[in-house]
Amino acid sequence: MLFSFFTNSFTEEFKFQKHDRHLQLNTRSKTNLIPKKLKIEIFQSSLHQEEDEDELRKLLLSDIGELTLSPPSATQVNFVSYFITDFTKPGHDHYIYRHANGLCVVGLAPTHIAFKDQGGITNIDFNVGKSDRSVLKVSGKRKKNAMRSESNTALCKVSTAIDSYIVRCCVKGSLLEVNERLIKQPQLLNSSADREGYIAIIMPRPADWTKNKESLITLEEYKDKKQDGLLEPCLL
């Protein structure tokens, strides 16, 4: 019985010593219980750990060569920007950011007539046409129950203090999502219409897109067209 008590305490002590990174050698009798080879191994593994961490840091910082002052934004890197001006009515300018996977983010371009009104946009209403666009729920990978929209299907109605304007899809495809945050925070449209203030995400079919593309203009052409200084720096 005495022997078993001895071995139990030995194993517990042993475990404690093994996990401790810096060996705490309390009494000489306990030190003698740990074989010398293990002591060396434990010490070496802790050294390796520090070495590995140093290696990692070197790798992480290796690419930090030149850090530009203002790197391109995520939207600029991942999306191709298109614009459409005077859609169905003069002054109704929209942007369409198309991702490499085919999805299009649609919103108001900075030269949209709604921004010219005093006080900017105060309200947005998705209940236009036949249904409320903000309650549609698309399910599954195949995007069932998505509303099929044409380019002139009404998306929402933005209102300012003076007037209200209808925003249309501009792209023919399935409507996947509308930005319902705008309902509670319509000022997003005034502050960042090109990022958090996007209106909707539409998934066009490849055939529809190639046809649609012909009526759109690129960023360069858009800048040329609207050269009367209404462009905001965030678009650059």
Partner: protein, 510 residues
């Protein structure tokens, strides 16, 4: 029935002989002479006769040694000798139990069947010390057997030997072939991962023996009903009702079998697994092969680099790559590496640990240094448990280079570091929305740490530890506001992610 205990192993040869002859004599006595004569005249081989007519439950190699002439001898005089110089092919087993078969080119195989099979197995080049034998026979054999049994029932109804359970052709073949094959290959035949499959198939498309099943008819390329179809249809109408079997035929409907079956031998080894951890040092290497419109995206792939080195060492047919999670093509995998499995199909030999270590070194010391491997080793059946281990609790650690639109301040570092177990809501990112469902996912950021970069207040290194399934890039730049809270909203400015590295993939407790 007398107690037929098997002879003790290592018993005296004389003892064995007498046991064997006693059993054979027993079998001989139990035979019904006129039934045997009938079957012989129909063209059934001696082994099938013994299978169908004896009362003994087991058919073993002792009975197999009974040849056609011995059988006739038992029946005494009055049996006409077979006039054909060559033994005809049995109409029931189609030559399978007589070891008469053709090779792939449809030429009759003259050499000893065991030697022939052994040769083919050795040609395929597998290393093995045990095997499992599988046999596949054409379905007409069971049809033939059923027809013959019905015929016998019609003629000799209610005999004792008709009622007993018959040993199937497949079992009989296995009994006959297993021992000699074991000796010839020098291997055991217990449960093993190496399978030898003997496939017998019919030479021609014509109905052989009696009838052709629907399954085999589907395999025929043309759909024109032939005379064989009609005749077999008629026979099936007759045989459908077993009770009326005795009224059926007056003449011999069993056609002669002209060609033996074609035997092909296939060897297959169960897949073997190798595991380890991999590192990805390049931002232009995808995890698995990625080809769009015949054009490869990225320079290479982790799957091809690792699998392509292991496959030649195993002499396998193909490989599959499984990893515990994945990362984008422009994200490096550093730190402790990501666990992965390589599954090799039909490997011919299992490489030693030494050669695995050599492969590991070769990959790590390659010129381009795109991928690294650690702890490459052979893994047994616990491989899937290893992959699934701690999947739900998997935590990942990342280091991201972040840019913000305003200079970093001290209180930003503190506020970020103080956020523990931050819950974020992520809508499916736009970059994957085309192939994943529109869902709102709640994830946890366990901790974050800001590391300042000397000389530049707009950039910093963000270390974070998150729950599995978190989209880091979207957490930093906000994904047009669809991920809340994001790095930008926490710091109150615009934030962009410049580069991302995975620094740790924690598996369970390790």
């Amino acid at each position: 029935m007398s107690d037929e205990s098997k002879p003790a192993p290592g018993g005296l040869l004389n003892g064995l002989e007498t046991q064997k002859t006693r059993r054979v004599n027993e079998a001989a006595r139990s035979l019904h002479p006129s039934a045997v004569k009938d079957l012989l005249s129909l063209g059934v081989c001696e082994r099938c006769i013994l299978r169908l007519v004896t009362v003994t439950a087991t058919f073993d190699s002792d009975l197999a040694t009974v040849s056609s002439s011995t059988l006739r001898g038992w029946l005494g005089s009055g049996v006409e000798e077979a006039a054909s110089p060559e033994p005809s092919i049995c109409i029931v087993c189609l030559g399978v139990l007589q070891f008469v078969f053709s090779d792939a080119k449809q030429t009759l195989v003259k050499s000893d069947h065991v030697a022939w099979i052994t040769d083919l197995v050795k040609q395929q080049g597998h290393e093995f010390d045990s095997f499992v034998l599988e046999v596949s026979l054409p379905s007409t054999i069971s049809e033939n057997e059923r027809a013959v049994l019905l015929y016998l029932k019609g003629k000799y109804s209610d005999e004792a030997w008709l009622q007993s359970e018959k040993v199937s052709v497949k079992d009989a073949l296995k009994v006959l072939v297993l021992d000699p094959l074991r000796a010839s290959l020098g291997a055991k035949s217990d449960s093993s991962s190496f399978h030898i499959r003997l496939t017998y198939s019919q030479a021609s498309d014509e109905a052989q023996g009696l009838s052709e099943t629907k399954h085999e008819r589907k395999k025929r390329k043309t759909d024109i009903p032939t005379l064989a179809d009609f005749s077999s249809a008629i026979f099936r109408v007759f045989y459908a009702d077993e009770e009326n079997g005795s009224n059926c035929m007056s003449e011999n409907p069993f056609k002669k079998v002209s060609e033996p079956c074609i035997l092909s031998v296939h060897c297959n080894k169960m897949p073997i697994f190798f595991g380890g951890r991999y590192f990805k040092y390049s931002r232009n290497v995808s995890q698995s092969r990625w080809i769009i419109d015949d054009e490869r995206m990225g320079e290479a792939s982790v799957e091809e680099i690792i699998g392509g080195s292991i496959l030649p060492a195993c002499l396998g047919d193909s490989y599959k790559f499984h990893a515990a999670g994945r990362e984008d093509i422009d994200v490096r995998m550093l730190g402790s590496g990501r666990p992965f499995l390589i599954e090799v199909q039909n490997s011919r030999k299992c490489p030693s640990q030494q050669s695995l270590t050599e492969i590991e070194e070769k990959i790590n010391n390659s010129e381009k240094k795109l991928v690294g491997v650690k702890d490459l080793k052979f893994i047994g059946s616990e491989c899937w448990a290893m992959m699934r281990e701690g999947e739900a609790e998997k935590q990942k650690q990342y280091a991201a280079l972040v840019w913000i639109s305003r200079p970093l301040e001290e209180e930003d570092c503190n506020s970020v570091s103080s956020m523990k177990e931050l819950k974020i809501l992520q809508k499916t990112p736009i970059r994957v929305l085309h192939r994943r469902s529109q869902l709102e996912r709640e994830r946890t950021i366990h901790w974050m740490k800001v590391e300042k970069i000397k000389g530049n207040a707009h950039y910093f290194l963000l270390h974070l530890c998150t729950q599995a399934g978190t989209y880091i890039k979207e957490f930093v730049h906000g994904d047009l506001g669809r991920t809340t809270p994001s790095m930008g909203s926490i710091l109150g400015c615009r934030a962009e992610i410049i580069q991302l590295d995975v620094t740790d993939v924690k598996m369970g407790d390790s």
